[in-house]
Subunit: 251 residues, 2 copies
DNA sequence: GTTATCAATATTGTTGACATTTATGTCGGG
DNA sequence: CCCGACATAAATGTCAACAATATTGATAAC
């Protein structure tokens, strides 16, 4: 018993969708709301499980049993059921009647599919962000992607690259201001989180990626949305090529 | 009592999904597979509600009450609850704790967002379909979009145009072979189904759309994927412009 | 006439027990 | 030794009653 605090990392980028209009202007009281906490708790659990699946703390094929989860998070089976339904809608688990839910498996074809969709959606976001953000928004990233990082990467230090990339992604998505594109990208990225990491760790990949991002950022700073979009698409297609080349190693 | 058969139209473009649950000649296997029917029934109800929401048979703001739905479809409240959860995940309804589910409202900004994402995803699908399908795949559509339709449209007959467009969309998505893009497009289109219809009914829109589709199909038949993708994007951007111009009328 | 308080009602959220189905292990027969 | 039938166990699916909460209407005070 008592496997409560196993939560682990569960990082993931979460942009949070607006809960739309309820029209009510007041209601600033957030703390004294037990029922609000209920729903928030459900989303927290969902977030935790998404993270565990994304980083393969729960590897594909793992069975997710209702009573087990209910005990671990100390909620009712009905709540767990709803959460499993959400995971199923997101494509993270497969449920078969009377047999329960298992963490979904990603085959190579699906990964290529996801790369194609990412190319379209991330390209869109880069274009929109370039149009919407003031040019100096991208200066800090050009700085962080500079020579110092190039040297670090040459020495095998890729974490600054990974972190900067994630920050840039978030800032881009933020300035793009398209909640649907953001939501869809979240769905895709949580499915390929580990794959993406492994590709970035391939020999020479970080160096190539850094260079291409510098090029893209120059277009963004110059306000050339079309060029920036094209650069972003080239980056993703390049990553796809690396995956294809090292496929047996990554999978 | 007994408000069972109120189901109504619930038309929607339907992917060749036949209900056909019974009617099988002398096949008593309905009782042999009760569990299979359960899940299929849930998806059927979900499909029905999606259709009603899409064509505003259930207009935005409509409250969806659990007992009411449970009685209409003759299922348990738990089943209805799961279905409402799925509708929430799809962004078709908003649920607030202890207040229930209401059909989501689409504001104009969200519609523009959806147009941008559709441009990216449908462009992708056209490109992939052009690459994957044999060129003669598109000949029947060029035929259907021909002079005869142009004359019909001139006389105010837009239904052939709408039907052909839907068939073309399905064939394109089929040959694109990207399940994620397909799924995302389904999510977007069921939210803007009515808007799309209204735009197609705007004066002159069908004529312009037909011409642009002929151009796109020529590129597809020629196997020029990049040109076809660009043409598709122009089409969607054009539709967006029409919406912008007639916004007050469409909304 | 307006506003605030409070009870009445309706709806959602939760719980636990029960039914159904699948997987597992055992036993007997071949 | 292998195979099938049966019993057992464990998990999911279902249901109805109960609890908590929001909405509505009425009443009284100002």
């Amino acid at each position: 018993m008592a496997k409560k605090n196993v939560q682990g990392a569960a990082a993931m980028a979460d942009q949070g969708r607006q809960s739309a209009d309820d029209g009510s202007a007041g209601a600033p009281d957030v703390s004294a709301r037990p029922e609000r906490n209920r729903k928030e708790r459900a989303e927290e659990i969902l977030h935790t499980l998404r993270g565990r699946i994304a980083n393969h703390e729960l590897p594909p094929g793992t069975r997710l049993q209702e009573v087990e989860l209910a005990e671990e998070f100390d909620v009712s089976r009905a709540a767990v059921r709803e959460i499993l339904g959400a995971l199923e809608q997101r494509g993270l688990v497969n449920r078969v009647p009377n047999r329960g839910a298992v963490v979904a498996r990603l085959d190579i074809e699906e990964i290529y599919e996801i790369f194609d969709v990412r190319e379209a959606l991330e390209g869109l976001c880069v274009r929109l962000a370039t149009q919407n953000a003031p040019p100096q928004t991208w200066d800090p990233f050009l700085e962080r992607f500079g020579d110092e990082m190039a040297e670090a990467i040459a020495k095998g230090e890729v974490e600054p690259y990974i972190d900067t990339l994630e920050d840039l992604r978030r800032e881009t998505v933020r300035w793009a201001g398209n909640s649907h594109a953001t939501h869809f990208l979240d769905l895709l990225l949580e499915k390929t989180h580990l794959i993406k990491l492994r590709v970035m760790l391939l020999p020479g990949r970080a160096a190539a990626g850094r260079e291409m991002h510098v090029e893209m950022l120059r277009h963004m700073r110059a306000g050339d949305a079309a060029a920036a979009e094209a650069a972003k698409k080239r980056i993703i297609r390049s990553a796809r090529d690396w995956l294809e080349r090292y496929r047996s190693f990554v999978m």
